[in-house]
């Protein structure tokens, strides 16, 4: 039995057409956008309430992570200095380095421009979606580009339309639920089950800590548990 590495899959002439892969990526992202609307409204409301709206809005595409963006806006509006706000924002976005590093085997052989584009548009949901379509670079690009275009539009709409939707408590769990729904089917794999279990325990233990620090601790716990209990790779 031959081993299909991600690079072989990507280069395989038997794979479906690039355009079809991209369309699949767009289709896969569509329901996630629906789940992200409330979160985008929350971020948009925070942007609208900022003292420096334009600067705050710029973070939509540059920070490109709702949790880090919100933390930066919350801290600056509460009077914290830019150094403290930036430190917290960067800690929360540290996970992006792990996402990018995990993509390396599939993207190693891609042209540098394509790798750059993949990195610029990388965030939680495109990464999680691509884990079931390893080696299908165009699928990832389709999904990532959809969110990269839609997210600023959704946040801007949230700024303009007000926060009535964000006041519905149910909307607070939808973004996390959408991430969890992407991870749940993968728990059947032993290393993933170990990583998720250890991370969940760590998350409970660190719930009182700031999100950036807590997420780093959870990542370390997950990696250690996967290495000890489930082997090196999933």
């Amino acid at each position: 039995m031959s081993v299909q590495t991600p690079e072989r899959v990507a280069a395989s002439p038997g794979t479906r057409g690039a355009a079809q892969e991209r369309r699949d990526g767009v289709r896969a992202m569509a329901p996630m956008l629906v789940a992200l609307v409330p979160f985008a409204v929350v971020v948009g409301t925070a942007v609208a309430q900022s003292d420096h709206r334009l600067a705050a809005w710029l973070g939509t595409s540059t920070i490109y992570g709702g949790a880090a963006h919100l933390a930066v806006l919350d801290l600056t509006s509460a009077g914290a200095g830019w150094v403290a706000a930036a430190a917290v924002g960067l800690l929360i976005n540290m996970r992006l380095a792990a996402f990018a590093t995990s993509l390396v085997p599939e993207w190693r052989s891609a042209p540098v421009g394509l790798r750059l584009a993949a990195g610029v548009m990388l965030t939680d949901i495109p990464w999680a979606l691509s884990r079931d379509r390893r080696g299908q670079r165009q699928f990832y690009l389709g999904a990532a580009l959809t969110l990269f275009v839609a997210w600023p539009v959704m946040v801007t709409a949230g700024m303009l339309l007000g926060g009535w939707l964000a006041q519905l408590a149910v909307t607070a769990i939808l973004p996390a639920l959408s991430l969890g729904a992407l991870v749940a089917p993968r728990v059947r794999a032993r290393p993933v089950a170990f990583a998720v279990s250890a991370s969940a325990v760590a998350a409970l233990a660190t719930a009182g800590l700031a999100p950036g620090v807590a997420l780093v601790i959870c990542a370390v716990a997950g990696v250690a548990a996967a290495a000890v209990g489930g082997g090196r790779a999933s």
């Binding site: 920070i63 706000a85 540290m94 998720v196 997950g222 996967a226």
Partner: protein, 106 residues
């Protein structure tokens, strides 16, 4: 000015975090990528747990428990391989139903 500086620093830093591993992809061993994969999954799981544990709803007693029930319902649907949208809808509707039953509003 504080907002602008913070956004610029976090934006630039976040861009580097996303791009640098991919730009230096030829130098990164697969073993590191495998560990990073587990770190990514662990972080997503932690985000879900934190969202449940820290969930707040002033009108709803035991709001984290309601969030836990709703999230669990959605995740079970996802685990069985159903569509993501169905999983999210199940979680959201479960939350709305429990909230409506307990408080009479969403």
């Amino acid at each position: 000015m504080n907002v602008l500086l913070a956004v610029l620093v976090v934006g630039t830093g976040s861009l580097l975090l996303r791009v640098v591993p991919l730009l230096f992809a030829r130098r990164l061993p697969d073993r590191v990528a495998a560990y990073a994969e587990h770190a990514g999954v662990a972080v997503l799981a932690a985000i879900v747990v934190r969202a449940v544990v820290l969930h707040q709803n002033p009108d709803l007693p035991g709001a984290p428990l309601v969030a836990l029930t709703a999230t669990a319902a959605g995740l079970v649907v996802a685990y069985t391989g159903r569509s993501i949208l169905l999983a999210i809808a199940t979680g959201g509707l479960t939350y709305a139903a429990i909230t409506a039953a307990l408080t009479g509003s969403l």
